[in-house]
Symmetry: C2
Subunit: 399 residues, 2 copies
């Protein structure tokens, strides 16, 4: 429980930029590349800590913005920190709250000092600054703390993106100053939108500050999947080799496979958990809408190649029934299945990198997988688009 943060590269794939690594934290080690389930409000929705341990996850993501609003970081600190509060003994990475204050909160005022905003829960006026973000994440007791950044939606015009790069660097320095290490790690975030020159500038400025790891921010914020991937392709190779690279908020299975090939080590996305609750299940070959009539009396498991506890015991017909009846158990079983699919994909990817056959692995995945952008319940593209100004997404609370 007391090892300081470290990152070790164990193997590099000869045919791609993929690498096998190991992150050590005060709460255990993480074999990378790794996917982090999103635990917004002190729980990965519908999962217990035992569930996540059994699925093999070694680190989860917590949301600074949500936890600061409810129950408040002081409550979490008094109860021994987020690990103890939620009964999770493995590692926790917390985001900085930057993305949420810009996407969720109302009436924000963005300045070099920070962001003033109104809580999406009760409308109270609050502010977030680099110093405040560090204070909250310290109270939560995160193993990996994220620097506070300015994350504009895409598309945004060049002046907005350039300002975000400048402000992100300013805030990264203030985050670094305010951060108290104590064995934990602080990661810097790179911005720069879809502009090559600004991405290069942001990488240079952030890397110069000296962080324990680096994140690619400003993706999956409204742009197409193709553009997201292009941004990562130009940014990832610029980041220091000897530190973990975390790709923020992007994560269809296809995204993960491609981005691991570009040398990304850490991933998070609400897709497997949120899609589960919407009845969209991942299989080894694509997606399945469990509510469809064709599954009415289908006795097969969701995926007959899947070894998860759901596929071992329950039929598509039963899962369809639970979903249509609005049963809580539907949420739980669908989430278990989707997270198992993600955990399994990452395990197989790590093995392929160790074997020096990642290109072959990725080609096999592409040939099986009918990749498409995910859709929400109404068949609209998901994630929903930010407007150019980064306004709150109507009626939706992002995890």
């Amino acid at each position: 429980m007391s090892a300081p943060f470290s990152f070790l590269t164990l193997a590099c794939d000869p045919g791609t930029a993929a690498r096998r690594g190991r992150i050590t934290t005060p709460h255990g080690s993480i074999e990378t590349p790794a996917f982090m389930p999103v635990g917004t409000a002190g729980t990965v929705k519908a999962m217990t800590p035992e569930d996540l341990e059994a699925l093999g996850f070694e680190m989860i993501l917590g949301n600074t913005y949500h936890l600061a609003l409810r129950p408040g970081e002081d409550v979490v600190r008094r109860l021994g920190g987020l690990h103890r509060f939620m009964g999770w003994e493995r590692a926790i990475l917390t985001d900085s709250g930057g993305f949420q204050v810009l996407s969720l909160a109302d009436l924000r005022t963005l300045s070099d000092d920070g962001v003033e905003f109104r809580s999406h829960l009760d409308g109270s006026l609050l502010s977030m600054t680099p110093e405040r973000s560090m204070q909250i994440q310290e109270a939560l007791g995160s193993d990996i703390v994220m620097a506070f950044d300015d994350c504009p939606a895409l598309p945004s015009d060049r002046p907005r993106i350039e300002a975000a790069v400048r402000r992100t660097t300013l805030w990264a320095r203030r985050s670094r100053e305010a951060f108290r290490k104590e064995g934990r790690a602080l990661f810097g975030i790179v911005q720069g939108g879809d502009d090559r020159e600004l991405r290069e500038r942001s990488v240079a400025e952030i890397a110069a500050i000296g962080f324990e790891g680096h994140a690619i921010g400003g993706v999956s914020v409204g742009e197409s999947a193709g553009l997201s991937r292009s941004i990562v392709a130009l940014t990832a190779p610029l980041l220091p080799q000897d530190r973990p690279r975390y790709l923020m908020g992007m994560g269809t299975p296809g995204d993960l496979v491609e981005m691991m090939g570009l040398g990304c080590d850490l991933f998070d996305c609400v897709l497997p958990t949120r899609n589960a609750r919407n009845g969209t299940l991942f299989t080894s070959t694509g997606r399945l809408q469990i509510k469809r009539r064709e599954f009415l009396d289908d006795p097969r498991p969701v995926d007959d190649t899947c070894a998860c506890p759901v596929c071992r015991r329950f039929s598509r017909a039963y899962l369809r029934h639970l979903y249509l009846a609005g049963e809580i158990l539907a949420m739980r079983l669908n989430t278990l299945h989707n997270l198992h699919q993600y955990a399994d994909l990452m395990r197989r990817a790590r093995s392929a990198i160790e074997a020096g056959r990642y290109a072959e692995f990725a080609a096999g995945f592409r040939s099986r997988w009918a990749d498409q952008r995910p859709v929400d319940e109404a068949g609209r593209p998901w994630p929903r688009r930010h407007t150019a100004g980064g306004r709150k997404i109507a009626g939706e609370v992002i995890e």
Copy 2:
């Protein structure tokens, strides 16, 4: 998996009418007295079969009315019956649908033939008769099938209750005729409202038909807790000694303790599961509303004498946070805790009967427990009252 139904009395308490027994079914045996969690729509809400097994439950209750409406008993039969459909390998008792068609459905017409009603799901016109109830329960593959009965709410006038007794006997005979045994058991249900003479008449008529067990119906249908207990106190001793006695739908912990002392062997109630979802948690001394502000940063478990997986890992503060945040995990953890409390109470009661010290056990319980009728989220008495005419309870779907 193929033992025919049997009931064995293992021990009789010397100071009360409590008895220890064992029911054997094609899906395993049940140590009695036993509490059955309610699995309305093919799932005990928020629980997996593994959860229920780990809690030690040996039989659950399924709802004929709900499953016939959705997904339909033909679907369940095609998928191998309810056990296989929901992945539960232990015993299942199904109710007859009588209570639900009278309490949930709209526009019902009650005659000696049966009940015509409209589905609460889609308004379609359906009918339920003794023969139809047997057909559905056979398709579900229940281990214990309940005869179709006419269950009036309380208060009802004497002619209504007398008609229900007559019709319940008529329907019990038709249920017996239509029932195909195949190792399973058919239980008859006694009605008679709060009228001693009608209860005696109903017991005599139902017992004469020859059922494998008997149930006390027509309680927990709008009357006070005191009246419910009086009805059971006058009815239970009249029921044949050599068959299981099932008290339908009544089940505060205090009810269970008193009614076991009167010789009841089987119980079901939505109280532990529904209260869990409403944030009401049972402890060894009473109830606790988890949303209360006093628990904001309370690091203690719900009950420090409780060995359940929730009390071993989570604080009141965390459970309060999950509940207020509307997290699915709140439903699951609260339900796990409440069902553990019930399972534990029954285990301790069975030990006390074996030791011949049930009166002492019950006295100890009464001295600790601040018994009160449960309340719903709005603080109103629960279960909600039927109106005298047995109309649908506005806006609420009874499990």
